[in-house]
């Protein structure tokens, strides 16, 4: 068992062998991975040491204190948060060795080819087809949507229908798709904010070798659950200081601009401030539970809380700004690598936060999940469960 003292010793060794001040960023990150200090709970040889997950904080704190480079988890968040745990759980040894190291160092960015124009919340309705040829290769055709990072990604996790005769949840298979394949076409998808953070991805006769399949044929829905569960943890699990979320900018505006204050806005601001603080404390409590090894079901609710708060708070700020609230900072179509809630104006925050209750599962679907899995209430009546996918009404 690797304990905190052992991890600190290994961290000190790494820092001594690769001083951050004089080591190339990627070289340092590779060395950190090879030392098992990337994600300490992963197995040895795959960036970890099989240590308790809670001890990652010990390593991170020591590295941060010495000015070690970080691997920019926001830009590569899909790889870290979704692809990696799925590959770890379902990949072959060869797949784990090929993909995890450049994923973690950020040398290879990942995206997620799940949602389709006709399959959002009802993701299992997806229609992208993968047909196996006699040589064993798969030929994939279809269209995906809402794909962030597709334009910079080297790899994608992809789910496609491999058996249209099976009911919709059973005929799906999970693949790793090469985004540099000529059959992959990425087009920017302009959003309400004016920018193009997401993409549409058109997949035409893309050939995927069977060695890039993750999990069994027809088992893709089960594999995708690993990805989706990790997605929700990634969205809800961040640690925030007081006023660290969207309530921060509006509180600052309130303090600095007395001429904008009204009684009505004051009441609403205080109410939202209290709710934001309660949500922050809940996220902190969830984090403490995880560290103590007693994960609670609260994570399922955090995304719901933050989505609603972000929308209400940013909406309030647009109103607070009065005449300025009628303006917008920039409608130019850009391709941001990150969602920038801090660097842009209130109008941008208002529009972008509308996506918070849609991305990563709509609020309506997540409320069903809480009701069924946390409270144990009966599930919705299903009319699609035992019907072959090809026979479903579309």
């Amino acid at each position: 068992m690797t304990d905190a003292a052992e991890l600190r010793r290994r961290t000190a060794e790494l820092l001594a062998a690769f001083p951050p001040a004089t080591t190339d960023r990627v070289d340092f990150l590779r060395a950190r991975f090879d030392a098992g200090l990337a994600w300490v709970h992963y197995p040895e040889g795959l960036g970890g040491l099989g240590a308790p997950r809670s001890l990652q904080a010990v390593v991170d704190a020591d590295l941060e204190a010495e000015g070690a480079p970080d691997n920019d988890p926001r830009r590569i968040g899909i790889g870290l948060g979704m692809a990696a745990p799925t590959i770890l759980a379902y990949g072959t040894e060869e797949q784990k060795r090929r993909y995890l190291r450049p994923l973690w160092t950020g040398e290879e960015v990942w995206c997620q080819l799940f949602s389709e124009p006709g399959a959002g919340s009802d993701l299992a309705a997806l229609g992208t087809r993968a047909v196996r040829e006699s040589g064993g290769e798969w030929v994939v055709n279809g269209q995906k949507v809402w794909t962030s990072s597709a334009h910079i990604a080297r790899w994608a996790i992809l789910i496609a229908r491999t058996d249209p005769d099976a009911p919709k949840h059973r005929g799906i298979t999970y693949f790793i798709c090469d985004m540099t394949d000529p059959g992959v076409e990425v087009r920017p998808l302009r959003q309400v904010t004016g920018e193009a953070e997401f993409n549409e991805v058109f997949i035409t006769d893309v050939r995927i070798p069977d060695s890039r399949r993750l999990g069994e044929i027809g088992d893709g829905w089960k594999v995708a659950q690993t990805t989706l569960n990790n997605e929700r943890v990634a969205i809800g699990g961040m640690r925030l200081p007081r006023e660290g979320g969207m309530i921060g900018p509006v509180s600052k505006t309130w303090r600095e601009r007395p001429e904008l204050r009204t009684h009505d806005l004051h009441q609403r601001l205080l109410q939202l401030w209290v709710e934001a603080e309660a949500a922050r404390l809940t996220a902190e409590r969830l984090r403490q539970q995880l560290v103590a090894g007693q994960p609670g079901p609260e994570g399922a609710g955090m995304k719901l809380a933050f989505a609603r708060l972000n929308q209400e708070i940013s909406g309030l700020e647009v109103e607070l700004r009065g005449e300025e609230g009628l303006l917008y900072d920039d409608w130019t179509m850009r391709r941001p690598e990150l969602v920038d809630f801090v660097g842009r104006d209130a109008g941008y925050r208002y529009l972008r936060s509308k996506g918070n209750s849609i991305e990563g599962g709509t609020t309506e679907v997540l409320l069903n999940i809480v009701a069924e899995r946390v409270l144990g209430l009966p599930s919705e009546p299903r009319t699609d469960k035992d019907v072959a996918w090809k026979d479903l009404a579309r």
């Binding site: 309660a278 609260e298 069903n368 409270l375 009966p378």
Partner: protein
């Protein structure tokens, strides 16, 4: 900001919770509470004896050398969660928390030990609706005796001693037998109010009233959030249980999406309330610099959640929820009264505006 608060429950706190819950399961069922609140003696003195004598809970906040348990607000909060879950008609919040905190602020002598042991029940003679820092009514101190009338005094009907603020700035201990205590017909049947009339009653000076009352009311507000949490949890759990069983249109009612969403939303509110209430209890226990903010956040958040939970419980129970025999009304009445007790959510938001520098126009 001070160090990160500990928002979890320790093993000892969970053990305390289990012990209190077991006792309440055996001695405080809903049917019994309903029958009791219609009688002339709405308080459950037998249960209070078991909690105070049997388990030593009345002295949790009192240091061991003064005859108490030397525990902290964190343990008190756990007890209040369980008492709230059972809408137990006992003077724990008023005597073991609010009156005790007032005594801890001054020179209480034996009185603190009497309250800690449960030999006596005390109550602070300040109207239940007032938040810390607001003006409270005082009685006239003249020739060594107290004169005046005070209303809205919670649990005064069972109190042995009243802690009375007077116009000379002092807080006095008055023997209840020297006062005329008349029950008021109260919205919350399980924590009834009373009118107190003092007509030349003798009082023993305990110290300055202002700091004692402020400290007592702040602790009351902070820990009331845990009672509201327990109450909200009971209404949610009970409603979920009922809606899994109750069928309409040939389906369990809990399978309808419109109701599932309402219950999931309620669950989310309760989860947030737990963090806010825990934060307030921990802030008082550790003497954190952040305690005033933590208390204001907890109360501003707790009251609407507890009322919402109880109102949803009544609505979602349908017709049975409107009956006297079903206990949901006890919870609704307690939740609504709690939303006023020790300051409304609005009063706590106003306090917060000052504390976190979000000034009014």
């Amino acid at each position: 900001m001070s160090a990160q608060p500990d928002l979890l429950y320790s093993e000892e706190e969970e053990a305390l919770r289990a012990a209190v819950r077991d006792l309440l399961a055996d001695h405080c069922d809903a049917a019994g509470v309903i029958a009791r609140v219609e009688s002339d003696a709405p308080h459950d003195r037998e249960l209070w004896k078991l909690l105070a004598d049997g388990m030593g809970l009345a002295g949790l906040l009192v240091p061991e050398e003064q005859g108490g348990q030397g525990a902290t607000h964190r343990e008190v909060a756990v007890v209040l969660e369980e008492l709230g879950r059972a809408v137990a008609p006992v003077p724990f919040l008023t005597s073991a928390v609010v009156a005790t905190e007032a005594l801890l602020a001054g020179e209480a002598g034996d009185l603190l030990g009497d309250l800690a042991s449960g030999r006596k029940i005390g109550t602070l003679a300040v109207a239940l609706n007032l938040p810390a820092g607001s003006a409270y009514k005082v009685v006239r101190h003249e020739g060594g005796a107290l004169h005046g009338e005070l209303t809205g005094i919670a649990d005064a009907a069972v109190a042995d001693v009243l802690l009375v603020p007077a116009d000379d700035g002092g807080l006095y201990a008055v023997d209840a037998s020297a006062a005329t205590v008349t029950p008021q017909v109260s919205l919350d049947l399980t924590r009834p109010l009373a009118k107190v009339v003092l007509d030349g009653a003798p009082g023993r000076l305990l110290g300055d009233a202002e700091p004692a009352v402020r400290r007592a009311l702040r602790a009351g507000a902070a820990l009331l959030a845990s009672e509201q949490l327990g109450l909200a949890e009971w209404t949610l759990t009970e409603t979920v249980r009922y809606l899994k069983e109750r069928k309409q249109f040939n389906r369990p009612v809990g399978g309808f999406q419109a109701l599932k969403h309402r219950l999931a939303q309620l669950w989310l509110e309760v989860v947030n309330l737990r963090a806010a209430a825990r934060n307030a209890a921990d802030a008082l226990a550790t003497g954190s610099d952040d305690a005033d903010v933590a208390v204001a956040v907890a109360q501003a958040f707790a009251a609407p959640v507890a009322v919402h939970a109880a109102e949803e419980a009544l609505q979602l129970h349908g017709g049975i929820g409107m009956t006297w025999e079903h206990p949901v009304h006890l919870y609704l009445k307690r939740a609504k009264a709690d939303s006023i007790a020790y300051g409304t959510a609005g009063a706590h938001r106003a306090a917060l505006a000052e504390l976190v520098d979000l000034p009014s126009p």
